[in-house]
Structure formats: C-alpha cells, structure tokens
C-alpha cells in the first residue's frame, strides 16, 4: 500500500522531468544552431577577418589564388534590393487581400480564400525558384527585351508571392483581433465600410499589421532556393531592377559545396550564416515584442 503511493508520486515526477526537458528543447536548439554555426567560422573571425572590409567592400573573391578578398557589401545589397522590391509588391497586395478577406467577405468566401492562401503558403521554395527560372524568366525577357531574365525583378516577384501568405494570414488575425464594438460604434455614427477600415481598424490593428510585415520581411531575407535559382550570379550592387545580383543566402548555397572544409572560404561562409541568423533573430524578436505590446494593452 505504502509503496504504491510512493511509486505514484515518483513516476509522475519522472514523467514531468521528461516533459520539461522536451519543453526546454526549443531553447536548446536555438542556442545550438547559433553555437554550431558560429563554431565553424569562429577562429577565422577572431584571427584573420578584417571586419571593416567585410562589411564595406563589394569585392568578394574568396577563391582567388593570389588575392583573397571577403567583402559582402554587394551581397548585402543583393539581399536588400530583392527584399525591398518584394515588400513593395507584397505589402500593399498582402494587406489589401487581408482587408478584403477580413472585412468584405462573407463566411463562405472567407473560408475559400483562407484555404487558397494556405495552399499558396505550402508551395516549396524550390518550386518557386523553378517558376522564376522558367516562367518569369521568359516573361521578363519578352516584356522588357532584356538579355537575361534572372534579375532583381524576377526574385522580387517570386519573393513577393512567397511573402504574401504570411502577411495575409497574420494581418487578418490582427484585423480580427480588433473588437467588434469598434466597428459597431463607427457604423452607428454613419461611417461606410471603407471609412471604418481607414480611420478605425487600420490604426487599431497597426501593431499586428506591422508585425505581419516584419515577418514577411524575415521570410524574404532568409529565403534561399528561390533566390538562388532566380537572381542570376552577378556579385555587384544593382543599379536597376533588371540587373542580376547575388544574395547572402544564395552565396552560401552556391559556394559551400566547393569550399574545402576548414578553409578560410569555408569559415567565412559560416560567418555569413551567423550574420543571417542575427538579422532574422532581431526581426523576429521585434515582431514578437510588438505583438506582445498589443496583447498587454
């Protein structure tokens, strides 16, 4: 009798320990990712890397025999240009769709659109890259008489289509979170739907909408395969949307296979990984703080 009760308490304690461990695992993995990526590039960072040159030079010649240079400015410009263009397209369309789904659709239409957006979000990035490589490529060449279709414009369009689902779904959540009595009060004052949206809902939901945009940006910055296949391979700062560029993510993917393990080139690629991790970490943190900000109101 006595033993059974002790056993009960003991087995419950053990199970709780296992579950706690699994719960903490997310933290362990995030730290682990940072640790193992940093580890591979660490000693290069602390010994031979010229940080100023790293961030300010556009000369990226990691495998040159005579004069190795590791400037990632052009790559940052590549990531930046593609992301900015993608957001310029995705944010208005994404928010517009979010507003339409949330405020102008009946329940059946809402469900249909939500399913379509979900399916859009599920399309794998390599398929997007393939679409950029084939369909959008030909479109750009024929529409603009451009010599090559793998450009900032190509990736911008693809990334925009990839980011729209996130912006729509989180934006829609933000709009849904605005209490109904805001809408009802405005309607009682005689406002039209558009006035309600413009003057009441958007300001009220602005935190959530901002978070949605930030997460969309995070997705665009971190995307690898689609930009690898759709941006061409020119390492330079773009001057027009019809220029080819290279992003940070594509550089790692394209060169990791060839860089000899533990060479300087190899280590720098890992350091670029650390840079990417930091950028997306900060963005996610900001978005989370903004969202928590609304919840605490």
């Amino acid at each position: 009798m006595i033993n059974r009760h002790r056993l009960e308490m003991l087995s419950e304690a053990i199970i709780e320990l296992v579950i706690r461990f699994c719960g903490v695992s997310a933290i362990i993995f995030v730290f682990g990712i940072f640790f193992f990526v940093f580890r591979e590039g660490a000693d290069f960072l602390f010994t031979k890397l010229d940080l100023v040159e790293f961030f300010t030079s556009t000369a990226w010649y990691p495998s040159s025999v005579s004069h190795k240079r590791y400037g990632v400015l052009a790559l940052i410009a590549g990531t930046g240009s593609v992301t900015v263009l993608a957001m310029v397209i995705a944010v208005p369309f994404g928010l517009g769709t979010a507003i339409f789904v949330s405020e102008f659709s009946g329940p059946k239409l809402k469900d249909t659109f939500k399913i379509i957006i979900e399916l859009l979000a599920a399309i794998p990035s390599v398929v997007w890259g393939f679409i950029g490589l084939t369909v959008i490529n030909e479109l750009i060449i024929s529409l603009f008489n451009a010599p090559i279709g793998l450009t900032v414009l190509n990736s911008g369009i693809i990334l925009a289509l990839m980011s729209v689902p996130i912006i729509v779904s989180i934006g829609e959540d933000a709009l849904k979170a605005v209490p109904d009595y805001y809408r009802e009060a405005a309607e009682a004052l005689g406002a039209t739907r558009w006035q309600i949206i413009y003057r009441v809902l958007l300001p009220a939901a602005k935190n959530g909408l901002l978070a949605a945009v930030l997460l969309g940006v995070g997705r665009a910055v971190g995307e690898t395969m689609a930009v690898l296949m759709a941006t061409g391979h020119a390492i330079k700062i773009p001057h027009s949307v019809l220029d080819s560029v290279r992003t940070l993510t594509a550089t790692i993917a394209a060169e990791l296979g060839e860089a000899p393990v533990n060479s300087d080139h190899y280590k720098v690629l890992f350091l670029i990984g650390v840079l990417l991790f930091t950028i997306t970490f900060v963005m996610n943190l900001t978005a989370d703080l903004i969202v928590k900000g609304i919840r605490q109101k």
Partner: protein
C-alpha cells in the same frame, strides 16, 4: 451535542492568491459522519476552503497557504501521496462537468486511474455509484453514450457518481444546485441524507434553507473569516452567538 472523532482539523488557515487574502485565519473541525453546511455570501472563501482540503489549491498559480489542515490526524502536506488524499475526498463543483467519455468510462475513470483493471469490479463500481447518485435508472441502457450529451441535471448527478467512484470518506459539495433544476436538487439532497451514515459531508451552499434542511452543524463564513460555527439549532435560532449570523440568515444582507 455528541461528537464523533474529528475527521478534519483546521487551524489558523491563511490563504492568499491573486493579490487578495481569501482566508484570513480560519479554525474549525469537521466530525465524522456529520453534514457540515458552510454558508456565506460570494467571495467569502468557501470554495477556497474546499480546495485547500484536497490540495487542488496548488493548481492555482501564485496561491500561498499557511496554517495546518489535518485529515484523519495527518497533515495534508505530509501525506505520502497527494493523489491518494484526493481519492479520499470527493468534490462536486457548481458547474456540472461530464467528461468527453462514455457514461461508463466517466464513472470508471477514477478507479482506473487508481489502478483497478478488473472488469467485473469496475462494472460493480459503476452500477453502485450511478445508483447512489440516483442516475442509474435513467442511463442503465445507454452506458456507452457520451457523458457530455446528458442534460445539466443528469451531468451533475454524473459528477456526483464520479465523486463517489473512488470511495471517498469525505464528500465536499460546492453550491451543487446552482445549475440544476429543483427536482434534481431534491433527489440529490435525498442521496446526501442517505450517505451521511457512511461518510462525512461538507456542504457549501448559497441557499440558507438548504443548509437548514440538511446540515447538522453550520458554519458562517464572511469575507475570509469564520464568523460562527455551531449546531443548526443555534445558528438558525433567534439568537445565534453573532449578530451578523442572524442578519445573514434572515436575509438582511448577502
């Protein structure tokens, strides 16, 4: 009044949670095989008192408990298994809760959790408890149907059957008749009168008349303090020891 053994002893009980002092130093005893009613307006600490006895207060985040609570002479914080303690005490709360299982599984849940696997034994327990809760005749042909599909009154009786299924020595009911129709309430009150000879019952209630009907003794709690506890003859007479008790029983406030 002749008293049996002390089943529950409470001394100097202080409970705080949510930044509020729910109980401010309560001392009372509950005797074996009696029905103790606890009356008092809302927010008096009645539910908190019950939760301390079976240690489910621990599930409320930030709850602090000071003082001594003994069941059968043993401090509840010192028991070898808190689950065994909870099995000794049956709890019925105001809202009827049917678990999303069949009626059979609802009543068999507690015995199974305690390790009983024998089908025959479980069958017996299910029938006995459903009979004790005055529900057997209504559900005996549909023990497989979902417990959540019963009416409110039936679900409350199911909750009582579940509370009895682990053979408790103490049964606590917290305003059980709130969400239940008067007919069911009467049936449950009859059940309690029958059970009194076997177990000890603590009945927290908003209905002063219910306390008068059922209880042997009654305790009056107000704002976290025990104002008065005595036999029903005293509490419901024209001159209980405390003026506040008289006012509450009459209905001058509350």
């Amino acid at each position: 009044m002749q008293h049996n053994e002390k089943k529950i002893e409470i001394a100097n009980l202080k409970v705080t949670y949510g930044g509020k002092e729910a109980l401010k130093g309560i001392a009372l005893d509950v005797y074996e095989n009696e029905i103790l009613s606890i009356i008092g307006p809302a927010q008096s600490g009645k539910t908190t008192l019950l939760k301390v006895i079976n240690r489910t207060i621990e599930f409320i985040p930030g709850a602090k408990v000071e003082g001594v609570v003994k069941v059968d002479g043993e401090n509840v914080m010192d028991v070898k298994s808190v689950y065994q303690l909870r099995r000794k005490i049956g709890m019925v709360f105001p809202m009827p809760v049917g678990l999303p299982l069949s009626i059979y599984d609802n009543v068999a849940f507690a015995p199974r959790a305690a390790g009983i696997r024998n089908r025959a034994e479980l069958n017996q327990t299910v029938e006995r408890c459903l009979r004790q809760a005055a529900l057997w005749d209504e559900v005996k042909d549909r023990l497989d149907s979902l417990g959540t599909r019963l009416s409110g009154g039936q679900q409350q009786r199911l909750t009582i059957a579940r509370a009895l299924s682990h053979q408790p020595e103490i049964l606590c009911l917290d305003e059980f008749s709130i969400a239940v129709d008067p007919v069911t309430t009467m049936r449950i009150e009859d059940v309690l009168k029958e059970l009194r000879s076997q177990i000890t019952i603590i009945l927290v209630t908003n209905l002063v008349q219910q306390a008068r009907r059922l209880g042997d003794r009654t305790a009056f709690l107000f704002n976290g303090e025990l104002i008065e506890i005595d036999s029903n003859e005293v509490i419901f007479s024209d001159s209980p020891k405390n003026r506040m008790t008289y006012d509450y029983v009459i209905g001058n406030f509350g």
